[in-house]
Amino acid sequence: MPNILNASFQAAEGESIQLYLDAEGIVVSTGSACASGDIKPSHVLMAKTGDAEVAHSSIRFSFGLDNTEADIERVMEVLPGIIERLQKISTIERNIK
């Protein structure tokens, strides 16, 4: 699906990213709608990456006709801070600076 983008972030868990974004009025998911409510890592991401930690550290953006460039800019305003905050309280050491 060309309108769907998966993004994985080292050391930051997907649902936490999702809910901090939700608090900013930005709605994303942590997996497909048909797997909604399932806490297991996405089988698609598992098949693609083979890494459960990466699969757990993922969010999924679904874009529609109503989305604008301003929406994307808004995401980019708040997302880096959310990721950094989660990484700094995470038990997982980041390998990249």
């Binding site: 868990e13 809910l19 806490i39 459960a52 757990h56 309280i89």
Partner: protein, 132 residues
């Protein structure tokens, strides 16, 4: 996931997720502690680390780090509040149910994977006692 739904968590969980207490931000060497305990595994989606500072057999100060979902972060934050100032024996008695009660109950499917912090705390206390 909560697409098209309201928050699945209580206000207390939301409060501890949005404004966690006693977390250790960034470099862990910044907090001079007496012992550390760890539980969980990122592969399973949740991992918690508890850092304790002990004085006169009491938890004088406590910090934590968590990789995990909102309920994992909130429950570790809640545990840190419950444990602070307690004697080591009292802190060892804090159970998953105590954390769940404090937070006003987590969703059932989240309980077992996210309320693990007390095991990390017990490990930290055990390590502290071994060294005494």
């Amino acid at each position: 996931m909560n697409e098209g739904q309201d928050w699945i968590y209580t206000d207390m969980v939301k409060e501890h997720f949005m404004h966690p207490r006693n977390f250790l931000f960034g470099d862990e060497s910044k907090f001079k502690c007496d012992a550390v305990g760890i539980v969980g595994n990122p592969i399973c989606g949740d991992q918690m680390k508890m850092y304790i500072k002990v004085k006169d057999d009491k938890i004088e100060d406590i910090r934590w780090k968590t990789y995990g979902c909102a309920s994992a972060i909130a429950s570790t934050s809640a545990l840190s509040e419950l444990a602070k100032g307690k004697t080591l024996d009292e802190a060892l008695k804090i159970s998953a149910k105590d954390i769940d009660d404090y937070l006003g109950n987590l969703p059932k499917h989240k309980f077992h994977c996210s309320v693990l912090g007390h095991q990390a705390l017990a490990e930290a206390i055990e390590k502290y006692r071994e060294r005494q």
